[in-house]
């Protein structure tokens, strides 16, 4: 290093206060109401009468610095240099001058960023790294998301769904994105037990490896006089816990990796309580670059919901009302043994009443 400056640590994040536009500083905590003016554009009105316009645009999440600099340029041009990102990878421009909304949207369109994702629409898909950067991915993340969002684009830029639609993708059960409470969760799955590599003992501690398995499917073994482990394949449910603690137990396998689809979860407390997504489609093989089977399955699920749901009904609330058997039927999903839970507390998911539609 050229500078002799003191090395700094533990300074923590910069204070958000320095990044808030003046209109927010002046009306912090004193907003009165908001209104969606058109897809992707809303106004927040403060008690003082001040107005803040937000324009929400999609991003690809994986972005180069050139693109971020373009966003910075747009913020300078239209918003006094202020912008933010949402928890779902959208970028939001914060304006006080209503007349600048149209030109901003036009500039965003030229850059290839659709505006939308507000209200009764699909927002961007939160997702993980996939083949771009992750060691345990069972599928790619960005590619699947791109293909699905190209297809569902109309539901992003318009507001024609019964309620909001939250879709998330995780490329393995690690679920860096904790996708398990989404209207639709796209989850990468492995389906072949780990293959024990030679020399495991040199890089992994056998007791740790054995303890890592939730179903006790890993046993100590000796191969060619060297201590190692063996997998009781019948007890393996491909969670990759063992691989997380020991790189000598890879599971990835082109023939057996793929995607599962889960539906009906939510985190909001509105109306019904937060709930997990439930299994809709156990397995779809990876079919890059555009995963057409995944795309069509998701569109079908969205359309069944969009057509049948009452106003404000989220995916899960809709399915609860019509019942899972009918949902499977309408979405054209074959019901299989894999839909039946067989892990802890599985019995709680059995139908324990005679209330059935015939």
């Amino acid at each position: 290093m050229t500078t002799a400056a003191q090395r700094k640590t533990d300074i923590g994040p910069p204070s958000y206060e320095q990044f808030l536009p003046p209109v927010i500083k002046q009306n912090y905590g004193r907003w009165k109401y908001h209104e969606i003016l058109r897809p992707g554009v809303m106004v927040h009105v403060a008690r003082s009468g001040d107005k803040l316009y937000t324009v929400r645009a999609a991003s690809s999440r994986l972005m180069g610095i050139e693109r971020i600099r373009r966003f910075a340029d747009l913020a300078d041009k239209y918003c006094g240099g202020y912008l933010r990102f949402t928890s779902r990878h959208n970028v939001e421009f914060l304006l006080t001058d209503q007349s600048k909304i149209e030109p901003l949207i036009a500039d965003l369109a030229r850059l290839g960023h659709p505006v939308g994702g507000m209200g009764n629409a699909i927002s961007a898909i939160v997702h993980t790294q996939g083949w771009v950067h992750c060691h345990s991915a069972a599928t790619d993340a960005s590619g699947v998301v791109k293909a699905v969002m190209d297809d569902l684009h109309e539901y992003f830029v318009e507001r024609k769904l019964p309620a909001k639609l939250r879709v998330a993708l995780a490329c393995c059960l690690n679920m860096c994105g904790a996708v398990h409470c989404s209207d639709i969760a796209i989850l990468g799955v492995h389906r072949r037990p780990p293959r024990v590599q030679g020399g495991l003992k040199r890089i992994c501690e056998i007791p740790n490896v054995i303890a890592s398995c939730p179903t006790a499917a890993i046993r100590p073994a000796t191969v060619n006089g060297e201590p190692t482990v063996e997998i009781d394949e019948a007890n393996c449910m491909f969670c990759a816990n063992c691989f997380s603690v020991c790189p000598a137990l890879p599971l990835a396998d082109p023939l057996n990796d793929g995607i599962s689809i889960w539906v009906g979860g939510k985190v909001s407390n509105a109306r019904s309580e937060p709930t997990f997504s439930k299994l809709a489609i156990p397995f779809i093989p990876n079919n890059p670059p555009r995963w057409p089977e995944v795309v069509t399955s998701i569109r079908r699920i969205v359309e069944v919901w969009a057509k049948g749901a009452r106003p404000f009904e989220r995916m899960g609330e809709f399915i609860e009302r019509i019942g899972w058997p009918r949902f499977f039927q309408e979405a054209g999903i074959e019901f299989r043994k894999e839909h039946i839970d067989d892990y802890r507390y599985a019995g709680l998911s059995y139908k324990r009443s005679a209330q059935l539609r015939h």
Binding site: I11, P13, W31, L62, R69, T86, T128, N174, R290, R310
Partner: protein, 407 residues
């Protein structure tokens, strides 16, 4: 040498088509001037062809003194893709609420141009700015420049993970406490726990300003802090009538969807039995101009949510039904400390707090951290009669086997 460039990526090229912004275009844009991105593109094309990833575990890279904030990554074909033989990620702690100025974003871009691939995620799943891909020797210089610019690394490993929050009072009329201030305060208070992993496993905080829970706190944080209120919903009857006039079917779409059926609409006045309102937000979401959370605001604290790894997914469960959240948040931080003490003492390797509570039982856990059990913590009381009583009564002179083994 890996093939890339023109026509070298026929599969990925397919992902440049269509209306949604393309990550492939982004990588290509950087590949024009950065060799790492060129190799990345070629390796990704190979993954698309082979249907399998080519990344290996991290391990031990980081910046001096920290146990987190850098995710080590190596590809398994380093001879063929030498520029990304190392391709480590730096997690940079974002400002609360993900607010930026154009100047601050440019600063980060410039640093990453000098020291990394130029690729980012805005943002990662936990909320950090993700600087995607650099070599081991660039970690310290990048860190030094980041801290000079006022940024620090976020958390990874068995530590406090970067806390995150919804936009809160900065832009949302429903925020029941200052999510940005609390998040920033917790992050600064727990810097040591964030940078130096000392826990059995990770610990996440997420702060949502109201029960809409825009940052998915209840599903994604060990401690989920969700704003709520205790008094009456504020009603502007004229605006209710205006909403009805504008076409909202208040009876069908608001009252009938209320989970406790505590609202009534006679076509002129909306009545809410607030004692039975569970603060679900539905009616307020449906009529943002007419209704608002009350004035006695605070938060519910819930504990234990997590993704499936290791023992299965959980949602957070109520620990404190209502707490006022004002700086310096003493009560909350004391509670956090008691939870960590018990967890560090009793947690198994890679056991999240939620799993520990399941294993020892909520009742025992509450006793250990000194929190009174309350009916609000349960969806329903037990329906299983196998109760562990810790003591029983003895008649005078009873010769039962209840003698303690050792006095």
């Amino acid at each position: 040498m890996a093939q890339s460039g023109n026509n070298g990526t026929p599969l990925l090229d397919e992902l440049e088509k269509g209306p949604w912004p393309s990550f492939v275009t982004q990588i290509k844009e950087q590949a024009a001037k950065n060799a790492m991105c060129k190799d990345l593109l070629a390796l990704l094309e190979r993954s698309y062809r082979e249907k399998v990833g080519h990344w290996k575990h991290g391990g031990i890279v980081g910046v001096l003194g920290y146990g987190g904030g850098v995710i080590g990554r190596y590809n398994d074909l380093p001879e063929e893709y030498p520029h990304i033989a190392h391709f480590h990620t730096m997690r940079v702690n974002m400002p609360s609420g993900w607010f930026y100025t154009s100047a601050s974003l440019r600063t980060i871009c410039d640093i990453w141009e000098r020291h990394g691939s130029g690729l980012t995620n805005m943002h990662g799943s936990t909320g950090d700015i993700i600087l995607l891909g650099t070599t081991t020797d660039q970690l310290e210089p990048a860190f030094r420049e980041l801290t000079e610019a006022g940024f620090d690394l976020g958390g990874s490993g068995s530590a406090v993970r970067t806390p995150s929050c919804c936009v809160g009072p900065a832009r949302c009329e429903w925020a029941c406490y200052d999510t940005l201030h609390l998040t920033n305060d917790l992050t600064h208070t727990f810097q040591d726990e964030l940078h130096r992993p000392a826990f059995p496993y990770k610990f996440k905080f997420k702060c949502s300003g109201c029960p809409n829970d825009c940052v998915a706190a209840i599903a994604r944080a060990d401690m989920s802090i969700i704003g709520t209120w205790r008094d009456d919903i504020k009603i502007d009857q004229a605006e209710v009538r205006a909403a009805a006039q504008a076409g909202l079917d208040i009876h069908r779409d608001v009252c009938a969807r209320c989970p406790t059926q505590c609202m009534e609409w006679d076509g002129n006045t909306l009545a809410i039995d607030d004692a039975n309102c569970v603060k679900c937000m539905h009616c307020i979401n449906a009529m943002p101009k007419a209704l608002a959370p009350g004035d006695d605001r605070g938060a519910t604290i819930l504990l234990g949510s997590k993704a499936p790894i290791v023992q299965g997914a959980q949602l957070s469960a109520v620990l404190v039904p209502f707490v006022k959240l004002e700086p310096p948040y003493r009560e909350l931080k004391d509670l956090v400390q008691r939870i960590w003490d018990f967890w560090c003492e009793n947690g198994k390797n890679r056991e999240r707090v939620g799993e520990l509570v399941q294993r020892v039982g909520l009742g025992n856990f509450l006793e250990a951290i000194g929190v009174e059990p309350l009916p609000e913590m349960l969806a329903y009381p037990r329906d299983n009669p196998y109760v562990f009583y810790e003591e029983y009564l003895e008649a005078e002179g009873d010769e039962g086997a209840a003698e303690p083994a050792a006095q």
